[in-house]
Structure formats: C-alpha cells, structure tokens
C-alpha cells in the first residue's frame, strides 16, 4: 500500500462540516489545541492526534457509549494474546520476565488499533493518514485499514498475491472483510478472550454455508464423513505463508527494528491445539508463527526460557479458500499423503518439544483408500 504524501495525511474534506452527526463538533473538542490561534505551531500545543486512544470515553464514547464500554476488551486495542503467549514462553525469573515484557511492549504493541485508526485514519502502524479527508467511515475500508496491517499473510492470501495461488473465492464474490468479521467481533464484548479464535462473535463458515450437511446438497456425504474430524480449511484452503525466526532490537539511532527469515509457502495439517466443543475437529491447518527462542536476545539472554510451553505451529484459518483444492481432488490426495501433515520430520528439531501436541504421528495419518 502506497503511503500518503505528508499533506494528504492531514487534509480535511470541508464537507465534514455537513456531517449531521459529527459536523457540529469543533475540532478542538476531540483533538484539543487552540482553534483561535492563527499560528499553527502554537495552535497545536496540546493537540492529541488520536483522541480515541487509549481512552475513547470522552470522545467517541460520549455518543457511542455501548461500543466504547467494551473498547478495552477489543483485541485490536489490547493485543492481549501477545502478552499472554509471550508471557507463557518467558522465563519465570521476575527480572528477566520484566525485561521480556518491556521488549514486547516496545516492539509488538505498536500494532494496535483504535476507533479512530479504523474509522477515521489509516492505523499508525502503517504510517497513518486520514481516510477520505476525515470523513467518518462506518465500515473501515478493506485495503487501507484491514489489510494495511494484516498484509503479509491475509492480504496476500485473500487477494491471490502469493505466486501460483489463486485468490480466495470469497474475494472473487466481492466480499469485504466485514462480511464475515462483524462490528460485534471487532469491538469486543467485555470478555477477555484467550486469542482471536476465542472471540464469541467470530465467523463460522456454516453461518452462510448452512446447508452443507443437508442430504440433498451437493457433496453432503463427504461433509458428513469429515464432520467434526477436519476443519473446513483442511479441505478448502490452499498453501499459505509461514514465518520464522523473528528477532527484535534497536539500531544505533535507537530505532526499533525486526528481522525475520524469508517466509515459506506451505500447507500443514496438524492436531487441533484449540480442541473444544466450539472447535471439535481433530485435524486443522497450522501456520508457523515467527516467534523464536532468541526473539528478545537483544534485550535479555534466554528471555524465552519456557519457549516449549506453546507450539510454534498454531491454529490457522488461511484466507485463500477454494471449492476445489489439490487436497480435495480425490480421497488419496489427502489420505496417506504424509507431505500434507505436520509430522515430526516436518518440524525443526529445536521446536519438536514445543510442538509435541500438534505433531501428527505416522499412525494417525488417515490410510490410503481403495478407489
């Protein structure tokens, strides 16, 4: 995504004044500063660029009180799973744990969003800039907001930007992100979900595809055979991106940097690490996440001493869904096809212990079928 020119980032469309809901608000009522001062330098003293972060209660919340009430439980604001996951991997020594926490805060927390950074501007994490001249966007635009952050994996999958992999079929039907990911999911509901799959209002394929188990529907038999055994993505997603070895630090000028190894396109079926009544499937698609035992070495040696506490191949829902995929062309494209499964050999030996609960043993791989 092309960044905006500096003046474009702060240009306001004068038709904002005609917005029946927000047009009568003075700029300073949300942003502070002195609107009567003709000197731009002094006029900007005390100006708050994003008045909806970290607390929107006095601004957006003055009218949108029900949404603002749950703001602090929206994963887009809290990024709480980062804290939880990295906390689980971190050394139990308090001093080391604190250093890891500070490093995570300094590096990983910059990717948060807010009311304003979805509905008024591009997120700060992608250099910001007003969307459509500060006109309020009821539905955040997909490419300048959602995939501006969710770019490396979701954007490339959904739009078919990974070489040789077609776009998601839903993209070809012109679905925007909010078709599946509703405002209720985005805004938080007051609970503290363990991860994004734990969010109560998250999408489920069967919400739309509610007739796949109907005996009169096409392919009902296959859907019944695999029901609660494999996740939809196991049959219907294409190869997706996996990331490795993220290391963070600061350069000589004190600016934060990250380094990751080149990502790879892969497709791995593993055991469901989030198996529950809500997600009963035994087999799911797993994606390698960039965390590494040395991610925070720049700040503290052996910071992630409990690295093996969680798998590095994580539950994934690739966004490149197709009706026909290489693995569902025939039964034996999957059955007996060890290449598709996250076997011990497919996992970096240093990470086998961490992934012990998601690795598929050879005897668990469904046997070839007589066709």
């Amino acid at each position: 995504m092309e960044p905006l020119a500096p003046h474009e980032k702060i240009w306001v469309d004068s038709s904002l004044a005609e917005d029946e809901n927000h047009g009568e608000l003075g700029c300073h009522e949300c942003h502070g500063g002195n609107p009567n001062d003709p000197n731009w330098k002094t006029a900007h003293e005390g100006v708050v660029k994003d008045p909806s972060y970290p607390d929107p209660s006095e601004t957006c919340g003055a009218c949108h009180d029900l949404i603002a009430e749950n703001y602090n439980t929206s994963l887009h604001v809290t990024l709480s799973p980062f804290k939880k996951m990295i906390g689980k991997r971190a050394a139990s020594d308090k001093a080391i744990h604190a250093k890891v926490d500070a490093a995570r805060e300094g590096h990983c927390s910059s990717c948060h969003s807010s009311c304003g950074q979805c509905h008024i501007s591009r997120p700060d994490a992608v250099e910001g800039g007003l969307l459509d001249g500060h006109l309020f966007q009821k539905r955040p635009p997909m490419q300048t907001v959602c995939t501006a952050c969710h770019g490396s994996r979701i954007e490339k999958e959904y739009f078919g930007k990974n070489k040789g992999v077609p776009p998601d079929v839903h993209k070809q039907k012109y679905f925007k992100c909010n078709k599946c990911h509703t405002a209720d999911e985005m805004h938080g509901d007051g609970s503290d979900p363990a991860n994004r799959y734990d969010v109560k209002n998250g999408p489920k394929c069967v919400q739309c595809h509610d007739q796949i188990y109907d005996l009169k529907s096409a392919n009902a038999k296959n859907h019944w055979i695999h029901k609660d055994q494999v996740a939809c993505q196991v049959c219907h997603s294409m190869p997706y991106k996996n990331c490795f070895s993220c290391h963070v630090g600061k350069d000589k000028q004190g600016l934060a940097y990250f380094k990751t190894q080149p990502s790879t396109m892969d497709f791995k079926i593993g055991l469901n690490p989030l198996r529950s009544d809500k997600r009963p499937e035994k087999f799911v698609t797993l994606r390698h996440v960039p965390v590494d035992s040395g991610t925070f070495d720049f700040y503290v040696k052996n910071g992630l001493a409990n690295f093996d506490a969680l798998p590095t191949w994580k539950f994934a829902t690739p966004h490149n869904i197709r009706l026909k995929t290489p693995q569902n062309e025939s039964c034996n494209n999957c059955h007996g096809n060890e290449e598709l499964f996250l076997t011990e050999e497919a996992v970096n030996p240093k990470e086998r212990k961490a992934n012990k609960d998601v690795i598929v043993s050879h005897r668990m791989i469904p046997q070839k079928r007589a066709e």
Partner: protein, 72 residues
C-alpha cells in the same frame, strides 16, 4: 412637548448606536474566533507549505530503522 420629543430622539439615537456597535463588535468577535483548524486543514496549498516546513526542520531524522528485514 419639545422636551418629550428630545428625550424620545435621544433614546432612539442611543438605541440605534447600541445596535450598530453590537453588530460591529459581533463581527469582530466572529473574525477573532475563526476556526483556524478547519480553514487550514481544508486548504491543501497551506498544508503542502507547512508540511514542507516540517520536513525541512526534520531533515536527517529517521522515522523507522533501516535494519528491519523480512515480513512483519
């Protein structure tokens, strides 16, 4: 009779003067309270000029590290 006319005339003159003064003062106050945020931020030419000034002042300052490698 003349004195009544005089008083009425004086009263009218004062009233008209007061209204005129209030109008002038109101206009001056309105000019003083011009919303400079809005007039400046809706003026692309002004914004280009100011952002150039800022860029000149920030010359040499880096916003992001050049050492980042790979996909985030």
């Amino acid at each position: 009779m003349n004195s009544v006319r005089f008083v009425w005339g004086l009263f009218l003159a004062l009233a008209v003067g007061f209204v005129l003064m209030a109008g002038v003062q109101g206009a001056a106050q309105a000019a003083e309270e011009e919303n400079h945020c809005f007039t400046c931020h809706t003026n692309a030419r002004k914004l280009i000029q100011i952002t150039r000034e800022i860029a000149e002042a920030d010359k040499g300052k880096k916003a992001a590290s050049a050492e980042s490698e790979g996909e985030g």
